[in-house]
């Protein structure tokens, strides 16, 4: 008979992930996150408009370096994320099970699929350019090449229901091509997203490439949709709220953001390239070729 009490667990304070750091919300506010049976899980930061603004600044700052990195390097880093995630599999299985009310085995399947999704996109970084770009046979003495380039800073409304696989499925394609992201985690189940920040921070991903905010989706999304220094917005997280989706798309028109409208997605299916190309621009460069010499047969 020992009177040693059962060890008291150590809670984690969940924080935002912005610019490679883990700040609390500048508002100082948090909100209660519960599991599917309304049991308290943690307090999550309630990000404010100002947090959103800071995240955009961080994402913009990171864009030059990340978009300028070699595709091979980006692929290695995305693969590193998969490695780090695999090592913390148990943690994410627990968090996903809690968040989505799944059995341990079903949650594990979600986490495994999420790891595999990082691997899938890791392999895309240095291939999408060949798929989406190419030489154009123009009718004249010109070399003409189209190349896909990242759009810039992308605001991502992560899916509400699929708190982790869905999250990874929308974040990975955005950054694979060199964009940087401001991600609004699932409002009800933000904890896997906030924990993902910890993985990203230890995967050689430069700070600011992915920024994770938690809080009220509508409240954070509005300033992002209207922000003039955000280039695109993925409205996946507004799938259940037509009015919100319309309002955000309308606001996004002010600087002609590229908008990925909400649509029904089965996150378990192999993704195509649609989410990669949604946030790519095509740049076409022309240069004269001409003959080797002035004595050519032009006349």
């Amino acid at each position: 008979m020992s009177d040693t009490p059962a060890r008291l667990g150590v809670f984690k304070t969940y924080k935002l992930y912005v610019g490679g750091k883990f700040p609390r919300s500048e508002s100082g506010r948090v909100y209660e996150v519960t599991d599917s049976k309304d049991k308290w899980l943690a307090n999550a930061p309630l990000a404010s408009r100002k947090d959103a603004r800071d995240a955009v600044v961080a994402a913009r700052k990171a864009f030059g370096g990340w978009s300028g990195a070699t595709a091979y390097n980006r692929g290695q880093i995305l693969y590193r994320i998969a490695e780090m995630l695999e090592g913390r599999r148990d943690q994410f299985v627990r968090e996903v099970a809690d968040a989505e009310g799944l059995s341990k085995s079903k949650a594990a399947a979600q986490v495994d699929a999420a790891v595999d999704r990082w691997v899938w996109y890791a392999g895309w970084t240095d291939k999408i350019g060949q798929i989406a770009g190419g030489a154009n046979p123009v009718a004249g003495p010109f070399f003409n090449l189209s190349t896909p380039e990242p759009t810039g800073v992308v605001a991502v409304l992560a899916p509400r229901k699929s708190s982790f696989l869905g999250l990874v499925s929308v974040v990975a394609p955005v950054i694979a091509t060199g964009n940087t992201a401001v991600v609004i985690a699932s409002e009800e189940s933000p904890l896997p997203a906030l924990s993902l920040g910890e993985v990203l921070a230890t995967s050689d991903l430069p700070g600011g490439v992915v920024n994770v905010l938690s809080g009220r989706t509508a409240e954070i999304a509005a300033p992002l949709a209207a922000h003039q220094d955000v280039n695109a917005i993925d409205l996946t997280g507004a799938a259940d709220d037509e009015a919100l989706a319309k309002e955000l798309e309308t606001a996004a028109a002010d600087n002609l953001k590229r908008v990925l409208r909400p649509q029904a997605v089965d996150w378990n299916e192999t993704p195509g390239t649609g989410r990669l190309t949604a946030f790519l621009e095509t740049k076409t460069v022309w240069h004269p070729t001409g003959s080797l010499g002035a004595s050519g047969s032009s006349y």
């Binding site: 004269p288 002035a294 004595s295 006349y299």
Partner: protein, 313 residues
């Protein structure tokens, strides 16, 4: 030194190389596109009549064959003076252009006429002879009465980067030419690149060329709108920087009035009106003249003429 503004660039082989290689590059596609675009100018009625007469007056009527005889040269001279025997308002050509041994014959045949005698020299067309032979060739032509000397540069020296040698040779020929105006032939088809043509143009002008000339007419590619446009840009820029005006002579391959008019448009819109005179622009051609005459007759009468109505010489 005719070009004191650039005295230092010809002080040494390396200085000259640095200067020539420092000239702005030429984008071939852009140059050819500009030449082609000017080629779409539509020259009609009064402008066409003006252009045809101007073109006739700019011709260096040329015969440079191994088979040339005094008779052939005399016929050419007669044609130069009266290009169209049926119409005495037709202008004379600028010159007749012959080999040095035919200069005296040409001079005699053109006595009293306002037609110059031009002579190729310097071991034309290859230019592969010793300098003293080239100079003797030149002096011989001048002594026989040549008003103009058409020399060829040493393309071998140019292409192997011995710019100063080319420069000095031109200067020596210029000196040997005495009062005769010196046309410097680059043989642009052998220089091959537009960058080389621009460099050769400046090299020739720095050395005192009175005219820069595209080609001998003896190689596959001779005058083209693009290489002539490029040389017109060179003389324009040279005058702007030195105050010295240099003429341009495209030679070889210009056979139709339409072609000739296109070249005059190039002159008009590149070097400018100051070059629209046979003192500053020439065509090295032979068959071109008859086509100009046919067009001239068409403009005068309103009906198409035919080869039986111009002389075959």
């Amino acid at each position: 030194m005719p070009t004191t503004a650039f005295a230092d660039v010809t002080a040494s082989d390396s200085a000259l190389r640095r200067f020539l290689h420092g000239l702005p590059g030429v984008d071939a596609v852009g140059l050819e596109a500009r030449a082609a675009s000017l080629g779409t100018r539509s020259i009609k009625t009064t402008a066409k009549a003006y252009a045809i007469d101007l073109a006739i007056s700019m011709i260096d009527l040329t015969t440079l064959e191994g088979a040339d005889t005094p008779g052939k040269v005399r016929a050419l001279a007669a044609k130069a003076v009266h290009p169209d025997p049926t119409d005495r308002t037709t202008p004379t050509t600028a010159a007749v252009c012959v080999y040095p041994d035919m200069v005296a014959t040409a001079k005699e045949a053109l006595k009293g006429a306002d037609v110059k005698v031009a002579s190729v020299a310097t071991a034309f067309p290859a230019g592969r002879a010793a300098l003293d032979i080239k100079l003797a060739d030149t002096r011989d032509a001048v002594a026989a009465g040549a008003d103009e000397i058409d020399m060829v540069i040493d393309r071998g020296a140019f292409l192997s980067g011995h710019y100063l040698r080319v420069y000095e040779e031109i200067r020596a020929v210029k000196e040997a030419s005495g009062p005769a105006r010196l046309k410097v032939i680059f043989e642009t088809g052998e220089l091959s690149t537009y960058d080389n043509i621009r460099r050769a143009s400046w090299l020739g002008m720095l050395a005192g060329a009175d005219f820069i000339k595209t080609s001998t007419g003896k190689v596959a590619v001779n005058a083209t709108p693009a290489n002539t446009l490029l040389m017109l840009q060179a003389v324009r820029d040279f005058r702007e920087q030195t105050g010295i005006q240099v003429g341009v002579k495209p030679a070889g391959g210009i056979r139709t009035s339409k072609d000739a008019i296109k070249f005059l448009v190039l002159v008009n819109e590149t070097a400018g009106a100051d070059w629209l005179d046979n003192h500053w622009f020439r065509f090295g051609a032979s068959s071109l003249l008859n086509d100009l005459l046919l067009q001239r007759q068409k403009l005068a009468t309103g009906r198409y003429s035919g080869p039986d109505y111009v002389t075959v010489d």
